[in-house]
Each structure stands twice: as structure tokens, then as C-alpha cells.
């Protein structure tokens, strides 16, 4: 199915390019489309395809269509380096979106940075990503910007005295989320009654939860991906745990309440995006995504969708010369100035602090919204 769609997209793009006359703008997309990380990579690709279709349908950029060159990086570090090099040197793309995992960006980012090509991550939340160099951008919001607000809001709402923590300790995403939680809890002087871990692929969390239950926390802080989190919630409730959850970025998926139903009620989540955000840009995105792919979008798709609009805004502000190196540099210089209002709300970049005297790249500068899960839905928390 998706292979067919892929081919169609290519054909359509080629035909459009041939008819329009103006050269296509080739943009690389390196995402994990097979293997374990494909569950993020696939929605990300969908988000990009949706945005590309929309931009091209509106006449593209100064008459040129955007052509996405999509490669599967499998979430493996050697593979991602190969894909980056292929996109940079063979396909000669203007910039690259991706890769899917933070770990992959650590491997491939330096390649793009050395070649003076923008690598733009839409799902890399780990610390230090933008330390790689000035050509590294991301619109994924770091946990350290979101979690302090989430925790403080939840603590105030529930009058929390002590919490228990559970996180996935073999996954870079959930582990770095935990590190931030740990620091935030220490900063806000909230005692931790128990810290429990699980590993990827675990489906049985009852042993840890039984232990947590015995320490009687006021809330459970959880750094997990949505599917794991939902199972944790279900199993917690089936063990008779009543404490609410406080979640990280991984909770931001409709999967969370699709699976957990009412079990997740009362959960606090901070996020740059929610599918119930009534902002027109978001309503349009959610509707268009459902229509095109027949499924609910998630945060990864939303950030991917916004990312292409960010790049489009930058492209519109410059004049492409056809000389690859100059155009790549011009795009790099135009990107930091972009600010848009997208599916994830108002967005602009913030330069990363230089590390060891070397200039860094650009992080997302976005204010998180705090949501509370009620009756199986994310509702914007208003303080009531």
C-alpha cells in the first residue's frame, strides 16, 4: 500500500516537474521506515507528504515544486550515515529532514554539518543534538523546556507531596526524559518514593507497579512511549493504583487514550501539540491528515508537517540560484529567521548555546501547553 503511494507520489512529482518547467526543489527525507523505529518514522513521512502535497497544490515555491527524496534509514547508525551521504552527494538535495532517532542524528548530523547541508530533525529530543554544529536544526521541543511546567502544574493541581517514577532505561528517548524529570523533581524538592525501570519490548509492568503501589505515591511520573505508557496505566489500574500520572513527550499520541480508555484519566501532559488544540492551523492539519491517511495523526506527524512549512517559509524568503552550495548556504542562513503558526502553534528558532567555543545549531522555541486527560481525551488545562 505505502509502496504504491510512494511510487504515485514520485510519479506525480516527476510529471509536475516536467510540466511546470521550473526545476524541482529536492529535499531529502531520511526516516526509519522499517525496523523498530518505523512506528515513528512512518507518521513522520506521512506528515511530510501531506505538507508537500499542500505546498505543491498551491503552486509550490516560486513556481518550483517540492520534491521529497525519501530514504529508509532503518534506525541503524551505519545506514543513516549512508543515507545522508547518498542524499547529500548523489541526490544533491538542498537540505535533509530527519533522521528519526536522536541516536541516529548523533551519527549522521556531523556528516551533514561537515558538508554544510542543513539537517533538520523533527523528532530528536535528546540533549546535545544541536551542539553538533551550526547546520543542525530541530523543531522538536526538548523535554527540559516542557517538563518543569508540566510537573509544577500537576503538583499544584493535586497538591502532590511525593511521587514514584517509572521509565524505560534502554531507550535514549525515555531515558533522557527520565534524566530531565529527575532534575526537575530535585529542583522542585519533591521526594521520590520509588524509581522503577523497564526495557523495550517489556509488556508486563506489574512487578514494578506492585512495588510502586506499596510506597503509596501521590502521583506516578512516567517517561515512556505512548503505547507502553497506556499499558502501564491499564496495569496500574488493574492493580488498584489510583494515583494520577504525569507524562513526558512520549505521551503525546492519540494511542495513549485509544488504548488506556478511562485508565489514563487525570494524567498531566505537556506538549507543543495536541490533536484537540482548536487553533485553525491544527484543525486543518488533523482533518487533512485523517482524510489522506485514514488514521489519527500524532505529534511526530504534526511536527513533521510543520517542519516542511518552516522550510518552505525559508525558501520563499530567498532566491535560488541553481548553484547547489550557495543555495544550501542561503537556506541555512534564512532558516533561523523563520517564524510560523502551524499545527503545533506559534513557532520560532532559538540558537543553541555555543559549546567549547564552537557555534551550535538551532532548537525549537515553543511554549508548551499543559493538557489533562479527561474521559479519554486531552483537554487544555485551564487551572480549574
Amino acid at each position: 500500500m505505502s509502496i504504491l503511494r510512494h511510487t504515485l507520489l514520485w510519479t506525480a512529482a516527476l510529471l509536475a516537474g516536467a510540466a511546470g518547467g521550473a526545476a524541482d526543489i529536492k529535499i531529502g527525507l531520511a526516516e526509519a521506515l522499517t525496523g523498530g523505529a518505523a512506528q515513528y518514522g512512518v507518521p513522520i513521512r506521512n506528515g511530510f507528504q501531506l505538507a508537500a502535497d499542500e505546498i505543491n497544490a498551491k503552486g509550490g515555491i516560486q513556481g518550483s515544486k517540492i520534491l521529497l527524496v525519501i530514504e529508509d534509514e532503518q534506525g541503524k547508525k551505519e545506514e543513516v550515515i549512508n543515507v545522508f551521504k547518498k542524499l547529500i552527494f548523489q541526490d544533491k538535495v538542498l537540505m535533509i529532514f530527519g533522521p528519526t532517532l536522536s541516536n541516529s542524528m548523533f551519527a549522521a548530523g556531523p556528516v551533514a554539518n561537515a558538508a554544510k547541508v542543513v539537517a533538520f530533525g523533527t523528532s530528536n529530543t535528546a540533549n546535545g543534538i544541536t551542539d553538533i554544529g551550526p547546520y543542525i536544526f530541530r523543531n522538536s521541543v526538548m523535554e527540559s523546556d516542557v517538563l518543569p511546567v508540566t510537573v509544577a502544574t500537576a503538583v499544584k493541581h493535586y497538591k502532590i507531596k511525593k511521587v514514584a517514577v517509572i521509565y524505560g532505561n534502554d531507550d535514549a528517548f525515555t531515558k533522557s526524559g527520565y534524566d530531565v524529570f529527575k532534575k526537575v523533581l530535585a529542583d522542585q524538592k519533591i521526594p521520590v518514593t520509588a524509581t522503577e525501570t523497564y526495557v523495550k519490548g517489556d509488556v508486563d509492568f506489574k512487578a514494578q507497579l506492585t512495588k510502586i503501589k506499596a510506597t503509596d505515591p501521590d502521583a506516578i511520573v512516567c517517561s515512556a512511549l505512548a503505547e507502553e505508557a497506556a499499558n502501564i496505566m491499564l496495569q496500574a489500574r488493574s492493580l488498584g493504583i489510583k494515583a494520577p500520572f504525569i507524562g513526558g513527550n512520549g505521551f503525546n499520541s492519540p494511542k495513549l487514550f485509544e488504548i488506556s480508555k478511562q485508565a489514563g484519566d487525570g494524567t498531566f501532559v505537556g506538549s507543543p501539540w495536541s490533536n484537540t488544540n482548536p487553533d485553525p492551523a491544527n484543525v486543518h492539519f488533523v482533518g487533512a491528515y485523517k482524510q489522506k491517511f485514514g488514521s489519527e495523526p500524532n505529534q511526530f506527524a504534526a511536527q513533521a508537517y510543520d517542519a516542511l512549512h518552516i522550510a518552505a517559509a525559508a525558501l520563499k524568503s530567498i532566491k535560488l540560484t541553481g548553484r547547489l552550495e550557495a543555495d544550501r548556504q542561503a537556506l541555512r542562513d534564512a532558516l533561523p529567521k523563520v517564524s510560523i503558526n502551524g499545527a503545533t502553534g506559534p513557532f520560532k528558532f532559538r540558537p543553541a548555546a555555543p559549546k567549547d567555543g564552537k557555534p551550535g545549531g538551532y532548537d525549537a522555541d515553543q511554549k508548551p501547553f499543559i493538557y489533562i486527560l479527561q474521559q479519554g481525551k486531552f483537554n487544555l488545562y485551564t487551572g480549574k
Binding site: S2, T34, G35, G36, A38, Q39, G41, V42, N169, E196, T197, Y198, V199, K200, G201, D202, V203, D204, K206, A207, Q208, T210, K211, K213, A214, E227, A230, N231, L234, S238, L239, G240, K255, I259, K261
Partner: protein, 293 residues
């Protein structure tokens, strides 16, 4: 808390035992470490899911159908791949690698067909019974998993101990050559064993998919590792050992998470495994069974 952990351990342990049962059966009879067992387990899960969601069949029909389907898959693997390798007397490493190839094919195919996303059974597939006994919360599903696991294991155990077929299988496990001299249809029993083992793997897949709400193309990987641990602990090819070792691993895992740290839980488990192998190569519960070629 302890009683609850005990129940947690029992559920987890019986799932491990059920998975390892087919795994160890194939090793015992065919002398092959069948690394596609995890993929067959995954196929069982997807098969039941498809029957429930697409054809709207009740679980009571979908479960045996998925079992039969995985069984056929297991038999196909034996006929198409393992049999030619047996025929040319390939060293034991070779069939193991062939089954790796099968596992890759199956999980890629599952991803191609169903996508990489985590799928789950629709609500109401199973009655969501749940009750509390003092401090302990029990779900009907968990009880039925323990029940089905033990039931299947008992049937298999009795079949092997008490029936003519079981005697034939034990003769093959001792030495395929002398078994065939005794007039036993060795090839036929190899196929049958593959069928039964894969069917057991398929059931385990459905049960775990139901209990933990997560069906993915790669769901067979982690449990395969646990399965390897179980059959080593239990003594390779030893059915009673696999049962004991499955429960033991479930208990060890839950208790180490409960009373030690959940951080190094797996390191402790595999470290223990390593040491046990050094001290008792035939496993903790296994009897030494020298196979005569």
C-alpha cells in the same frame, strides 16, 4: 504486596513456559534451535487479530484457527527448509541460521502487510472480568492464561509420557537412526512435532497479544531471548524442565524487580544463566541426555 507479586510471577512464568514448550520440543526431537519460533509466535498473534477484526469471528474460533495456522506454518518451515538440511546431514549451526532467515522474512512480511504500528485486539474480544481478593487484584484473563498454559502443557506432557506416539518421539530424541530402524516414521513425526511446536507458539502469541495489548512485527524478539534462557535452564529438549524453568524465570524476574532493582534485572538473569551453564551444562532442571548420532 508479596501475594500480588506471586500472582504476577505466575502469569509471566506460565507465558514463558508456554512459549518455551514448543521451542524445546523442536530442539528435543529435531535437534534444531529454531530461531523462527518467535516469528511464528508473532504470526499467531496477527492471525487471530485478523480473524477477529476482519472476519468478526469470536475469539473461541479465532484462537484455534490461529493455532492451526501457525502449526501449518511451522510444518511448512520443516518440510521446505529443515527437511532438505536433514537430508544432507548439515551441521547443527546451519538449520539455526536458516531459521534466522525465516524469522527475518516473516517479520518483514508482517510489517509490509500490517505496518510497523502496534496493533491490538478490539475491546470486548474477551470478557473484562476482574475481582479483588484482599490485597490482590486478579483479572479473569490472567487466570485463563495460566489455565490454558498449564492445560496445554499437561496434555503435551501426558501425550509424550503415555501414548505410543510419545514413546516414538522419545525414541527419536534418543537417536533418530535407531528409531527409524525400529520402524518409526521419523520424517512424519518430525513434521508433526514442528506442527505442534508452532501451534503452541501461536497460542502463546495470541494470549500474550491479548494480555499485554500489543501486537507488533517484532514482538517475537524479546520473548525469543527469554525462551532461549528458559530452555537452557530447563535443559535443552526437556519438556518438564521447560515448564519448571519458565516458571522459575518468571519468578526470578518478578522477584528481582520487586526486591532488588529493576535496573539490572536482566543482567542478573543472564549472568545467572551464564554461571548455571558453567556449573551445570545440562541446565538447572534438565537431565543429561547424550544424543547418539
Amino acid at each position: 504486596m508479596f501475594t500480588q507479586q506471586l500472582l504476577n510471577a505466575l502469569t509471566l512464568g506460565s507465558v514463558y513456559a508456554l512459549f518455551a514448550l514448543g521451542f524445546t520440543l523442536v530442539f528435543g526431537v529435531l535437534a534444531v534451535i529454531n530461531l523462527s519460533h518467535g516469528a511464528v509466535f508473532m504470526v499467531g498473534s496477527y492471525a487471530a487479530l485478523t480473524l477477529v477484526t476482519r472476519l468478526h469471528l469470536p475469539l473461541g474460533i479465532a484462537l484455534p484457527a490461529a493455532m492451526a495456522l501457525s502449526g501449518c506454518l511451522g510444518m511448512a518451515i520443516d518440510v521446505l527448509i529443515l527437511k532438505p538440511l536433514r537430508a544432507r546431514n548439515a551441521p547443527h549451526l546451519i538449520p539455526m541460521i536458516a531459521t534466522i532467515g525465516v524469522a527475518i522474512m516473516l517479520s518483514s512480511a508482517a510489517q509490509g502487510i500490517f505496518g510497523a504500528e502496534i496493533l491490538r485486539f478490539p475491546e470486548g474480544t474477551i470478557p473484562a472480568g476482574e475481582f479483588t481478593l484482599g490485597e490482590v487484584h486478579v483479572r479473569a484473563l490472567e487466570l485463563s492464561i495460566v489455565g490454558i498454559s498449564f492445560g496445554l502443557m499437561a496434555v503435551l506432557f501426558l501425550a509424550i509420557r503415555r501414548t505410543q506416539l510419545g514413546r516414538a518421539l522419545r525414541a527419536i530424541a534418543e537417536s533418530p537412526r535407531s528409531a527409524s530402524l525400529l520402524g518409526i516414521n521419523v520424517e512424519g513425526l518430525f513434521h508433526a512435532t514442528s506442527f505442534v511446536a508452532a501451534a503452541l507458539g501461536g497460542v502463546a502469541g495470541v494470549l500474550i497479544g491479548l494480555n499485554f495489548n500489543a501486537i507488533t512485527p517484532l514482538m517475537g524478539q524479546p520473548i525469543l531471548h527469554k525462551g532461549i534462557a528458559v530452555i537452557i535452564l530447563g535443559g535443552m529438549g526437556d519438556i518438564r524442565g521447560a515448564l519448571l524453568a519458565g516458571l522459575f524465570l518468571g519468578f526470578a524476574e518478578v522477584m528481582s524487580k520487586a526486591y532488588l532493582s529493576s535496573q539490572m534485572g536482566d543482567a542478573v538473569a543472564f549472568g545467572l544463566l551464564f554461571l548455571i551453564l558453567l556449573v551445570r551444562p545440562s541446565g538447572l532442571f534438565g537431565r543429561v541426555l547424550e544424543r547418539k548420532a
